[in-house]
């Protein structure tokens, strides 16, 4: 167990070293804005992937409207900075909190029941959110809303690390075990005396919160946000990160978010081709590696001989 914890913090330290190198390259202007922007975009996508991984991969609840929470975070944080003149950090947190509250409102009624009600509820929710922003002139309607550029490599990196630390620790805690047991067998989890509704909602609210944070970063990285950025295809993109990475594997979600962001960045000019390539990649993975890139394993599993995490084994050693 000690070993596992050490590997985890070791990876975090390594990440900070990586951060430092990139920051140095940015400040000496050796990294051009295109690459910096891609890196920021990768951070945002990893946050989205990891937050959805908690809901789908760990707790086993199928949510297909993650873009709805992204949109909420984006618009709320943009309103905070652009209309109310709040600092960016406050705006980010506000976006996360509003998204979390929305998660609570959507989650409580649909997660109290056993079954795939959440999928339908989230799908509807994301559409409703998009249509609401489409019809509010205060935020620019279909034309969108101008947002200043405030997202930097540093803020996105810090948000990313925060997301990973919180979600990895949650997963490895007693609460995480409860969530995994729900994924494995909800009736048995119930019979063990685990409050399944509570944990499903908790995981969903945490996931929504971080999606909202990602929304704030997203909004302040693009100069403009429009409802069309947050349609079903966006939710689908995020879902693919999780499925491709392997349901239940946090590092899988991270790896596939990185890979797919890079692929889609280079195919940006060809949106149709992008969807075709995406679909092909997905079909190939499902044919040759139906468990996803990582299965339920974690990268850290390959370090120690006791490693076998599949989303949190606190007794791993």
């Amino acid at each position: 167990m000690l070993k596992k914890v050490n590997t985890f913090w070791f990876s975090i330290v390594l990440a900070f070293v990586f951060y430092g190198i990139i920051q140095l390259l940015i400040s000496t202007a050796m990294l051009n804005p295109f690459y910096t922007n891609t890196l920021i975009f990768i951070c945002i996508n990893i946050i989205l992937a990891v937050s959805l991984h908690l809901v789908i991969g760990i707790t086993g609840q199928f949510s297909i409207g993650h873009a709805g929470f992204l949109a909420l975070g984006a618009y709320i944080s943009a309103i905070m900075t652009m209309k109310l003149g709040m600092p960016f950090s406050v705006a980010l947190i506000a976006g996360g909190i509003v998204a979390a509250l929305a998660g609570l409102v959507v989650g409580v009624p649909s997660l109290r029941l056993r079954g795939d009600y959440l999928a339908i509820a989230t799908l509807g929710f994301a559409e409703i959110i998009r249509i609401i922003f489409l019809n509010i002139d205060y935020v620019g309607g279909a034309a969108g809303m101008q947002v200043t550029h405030a997202t930097t490599w540093t803020t996105s990196f810090l948000c990313l690390i925060l997301t990973i630390v919180v979600i990895a620790n949650f997963t490895n805690s007693r609460h995480g075990r409860a969530c995994i047991s729900i994924r494995e067998n909800e009736i048995a989890a119930d019979a063990m005396g685990i409050n399944t509704t509570y944990y499903k909602v908790a995981a969903f609210v945490i996931g929504s919160f971080f999606a909202g944070i990602a929304g704030g970063l997203y909004a302040h990285n693009f100069y403009i946000i429009q409802p069309v950025n947050f349609g079903f295809l966006k939710s689908f993109d995020i879902l693919i990160f999780v499925v491709l990475g392997g349901l239940g594997s946090l590092s899988g979600a991270v790896v596939s978010a990185i890979l797919l962001t890079i692929v889609s960045t280079f195919l940006q000019g060809l949106p149709e081709t992008r969807m075709i390539i995406y679909s092909l990649v997905l079909v190939m993975v499902m044919l040759y590696r139906p468990q996803g890139l990582m299965g339920t394993r974690e990268i850290t599993d390959y370090f120690g001989k006791w490693g076998r995490v599949k989303g949190g084994n606190q007794y791993g050693g």
Partner: protein, 235 residues
């Protein structure tokens, strides 16, 4: 210890239990027999809080538990081994057992109970690092029972522990049930295998289409011509 009075349980508009009453005394093995779809599993699920009765009383140690949450009931000392061996497939045997003790805080006693479960089921000890989804059917049944025991129940609800097992293994499982009972756990056992169930039970209830039709001591039911015809294959 457990007293059920006139409970009605519904699935939507379908009435699955109609005015069922029964009681279980401390130290007993009580068995519930009946055909497929009679409502046996429904009754156990209601007792453990997975379903709520629409009418009637359920008292455990003279306190009402009808409609309480499953966690409250587990804490009070009732553990349920649901039908069909629901193990957490992607977790090891050990992790499954740990989750059985999920609501307990007494870490030291949990360790002791681990040893006890492994004594009862030596096969689980040999396989404690194995993913439980890869265990054989019989081993999964043992694990489901061991996991329920980790909650340290005073009353254990077992739903068809012999389902799909070879005769020899059925015997082993029933021996273990008797052993658990000797160690001081009261047992309410649902079985299709009425013959085996009656051979270890103190008392039995026969349930048909949602109602209790007869009850009595195991000997009495074993001797009854009707029961032999209907449930013991006329042996």
């Amino acid at each position: 210890m457990l007293k059920v009075e006139e409970i009605d349980v519904y699935y939507g508009s379908i009435k699955a239990l109609k005015g069922v009453s029964l009681n279980v005394n401390e130290g007993e093995i009580v068995t519930l027999i009946g055909a497929n779809g009679a409502g046996k599993s429904t009754l156990l699920k209601t007792l453990s809080g997975l379903l709520k009765p629409k009418k009637g009383k359920i008292e455990y140690h003279n306190k009402s538990i009808a409609g309480k949450q499953a966690q409250t009931i587990v804490k009070a000392g009732i553990s349920h081994v649901p039908e069909g061996r629901r193990v957490f497939a992607n977790m090891t045997v050990e992790e499954n057992l740990e989750l059985g003790a999920y609501l307990r805080k007494d870490t030291k006693r949990i360790r002791v109970d681990f040893e006890k479960v492994f004594e009862l089921f030596p096969r689980l000890f040999e396989r404690k690092k194995q993913l439980s989804g890869t265990l054989s059917g019989g081993e999964q049944q043992m694990l489901a029972m061991g996991r329920a025991l980790m909650a340290k129940p005073k009353l254990l609800l077992l739903d068809e522990p012999s389902m799909g097992l070879a005769p020899l293994l059925v015997k082993t499982i029933f021996n273990i049930i008797e052993e658990i009972n000797r160690d001081g756990t009261t047992i309410l056992l649902v079985e299709q295998n009425a013959h085996m169930a009656l051979s270890i039970a103190t008392r039995a209830y026969v349930i048909e289409t949602g109602s209790v039709i007869t009850s009595g001591t195991a000997e009495k039911l074993q001797a009854s011509e009707e029961i032999r015809q209907a449930y013991l294959g006329g042996m």
